[in-house]
Symmetry: C2
């Protein structure tokens, strides 16, 4: 190692913080460094999963995510079982977005002294029961201590036939945009929890459960992938505006979204009305819904609809991909406005 180690250019003497460049800005900075052996790497940083060739006909998928107390969750917001299940669900959702079948999960925990073993047992119970429902093993359990926050890292492997993998960068103009479920509920539930807002149980509970116990759309992902008509997909983790932005940016396209066509739940509309919020704000920018957003070739749309509906899965056409790079939101009254790719960036806005 040289005496003065090399580092990237520093244009200013003021130290730049991660919040100044944002998570995605930082990923753009580091991505070029990473691939030093390109053979067998199909997709590295930048999609929901990394996609690699392994021996045999399928691709290997790997996704990993770090959840940090006070950033991504509060310990007192729910049962440990639900936290365990959710920490796995959001990774299975990444596998689903690539069209894959999840295989094995590897959990790392850093545990502060105030968290007792019963909590951890219940957390693991939640992960493993959730995994069982998807035939996913929990195989690794690195566990260490922490001086302050509880930290959870979940890595999940998956596999997908090579001709079925779904990326973000492969959508085409004219493709229909579809969602596999309602959006906004999770953000509304998070809002109710955060501000301890009391509402009737039939409104409050489904929203809170949407936030605390999301379902990974693995089945929907496999159906879309195997349909042969899906050109791109992503899961709604950061919010529709942001996640659609990823598909558009990486496919070098724009999009038109019909506000009226966005699937929304009754509890969401009720909660928004009662606390005077705009439900569209939660639907467009909320995130953590973990439904899939996909681009479908127009000539295959009817078949894809039939395929998902035959399997009991929802599918909602919300708009279309178009040439250009603008994302336009069309409202029922005929007005339209640009849909800013704001979404959720932990470094730019506090929860």
């Amino acid at each position: 190692m040289a005496e003065t180690p090399p580092h990237t250019d520093r244009k200013s003497q003021i130290p730049m913080k991660l919040k100044d460049v944002g998570e995605f800005g930082f990923i753009d900075r580091i991505a070029p460094y990473g691939i030093t052996r390109p053979a067998r790497v199909v997709k590295g940083i930048g999609d929901d999963c990394a996609v690699m060739e392994f021996d045999g006909p399928d691709y290997l998928l790997v996704t990993t995510d770090l959840l940090v107390e006070r950033i991504h969750f509060q310990l007192d917001w729910g049962w440990p079982e639900l936290m365990g299940a959710k920490s796995l669900a959001i990774q299975l959702s990444d596998i689903a977005a690539c069209g894959g079948r999840p295989l094995d999960a590897f959990i790392s925990l850093a545990v502060p002294d105030r968290v007792d073993v019963e909590w951890l047992d219940r957390f693991y119970r939640g992960i493993t029961e959730y995994g069982r429902a998807f035939q996913v093993n929990v195989l690794g359990g690195d566990t260490t201590s922490s001086k302050s926050d509880l930290i959870i890292n979940v890595a999940v492997t998956g596999q997908v036939p090579r001709d079925q993998v779904m990326f973000r960068h492969t959508a085409k103009p004219g493709d229909a945009l579809i969602l596999t479920g309602a959006i906004g509920d999770s953000a509304a539930g998070c809002h109710l929890l955060q501000y301890s807002i009391s509402l009737p149980g039939e409104i409050r509970e489904p929203l809170i459960m949407a936030h605390l116990a999301p379902r990974a759309h693995v089945k929907e992902g496999r159906l879309l992938a195997s349909s042969g008509s899906c050109t791109a997909a992503i899961d709604i983790s950061d919010g529709l505006s942001s996640d659609l932005g990823h598909i558009c940016d990486e496919s070098k396209l724009g999009a038109v979204v019909h506000a009226d066509a966005l699937p929304r739940s009754e509890p969401l509309l009720e909660a928004a009305a009662r606390i005077g919020s705009d439900p569209l704000h939660w639907m467009l920018n909320g995130g953590e819904d973990y439904v899939l957003l996909a681009a479908v070739r127009p000539e295959g749309l009817d078949a894809v609809k039939a395929l998902l509906e035959a399997e009991g899965c929802a599918i909602h056409v919300i708009g279309m991909l178009v040439e250009g790079n603008d994302i336009i939101l069309k409202r029922a009254d005929g007005t339209e406005a640009p849909l800013p790719r704001g979404g959720w960036d932990h470094f730019r806005q506090e929860p």
Copy 2:
């Protein structure tokens, strides 16, 4: 989800803490939960890597580890490049212990505001340059914020021919115990850093670099695995007494270790003499050496020695596996004593 979620038996009303059961006790508690789809799982929790069948002739290896500021490292102890390299090295060492070839690394970071982008750039530079030396790609870069400590999770995939994978539970009585390098230097270096002990550079620097910039013995692991004579292996991460204890426990064997045969460096002996420490303490309990400890069939030992030495790799015979379950340390003066399987357990002893 039931109203009262199930949880494991709680024998006492006093909440049990992780430090009461220890990391390994906790892993024993959770391991039975994890495997809900046993097909294709060769080894789950409990070895250096999880080992899975994938398509094709090789096994897929996965290892993941969480490094937490103030538990595993201090931010002011070294260059960010070295921290990046070490965080990858310790994972490559797990792949090496299974005899594998590392493939791809997936990094998750939780970054407090006080850490600037230049630090992160340098950290990633360190990881990717270290990866390049082993033909390992850095493919994932989940990056989030943290309210307090810097958190680093590194997951690495690897592959190994099915007939070459090395486990901990497969050693046989009569097998020779070998080490692929000196032990104790890292612990001594850590001690010098922790207590800011000043010693002449030619003593201090190699010890500190052993702690901050360990080398993963990937080449040694591949040679041992391909020799056909290696029955078990582990990397020295927790300390010889503890890691040998893992091989003995899982292979249901005891061992005899010759204190005089343990490979040690001159700087270690010099540092111990100057500060009045017992070098054997660092060698037996220190950990973080990341050399390999392996069991080798006696009839194949000469060939394994020749194989490693021909490739410029060190090999030191330090003892033998025996029937029973005691680990005995034999000293040069003919005395012997049980070698307690103390080692390093983050929950039982502070760094």
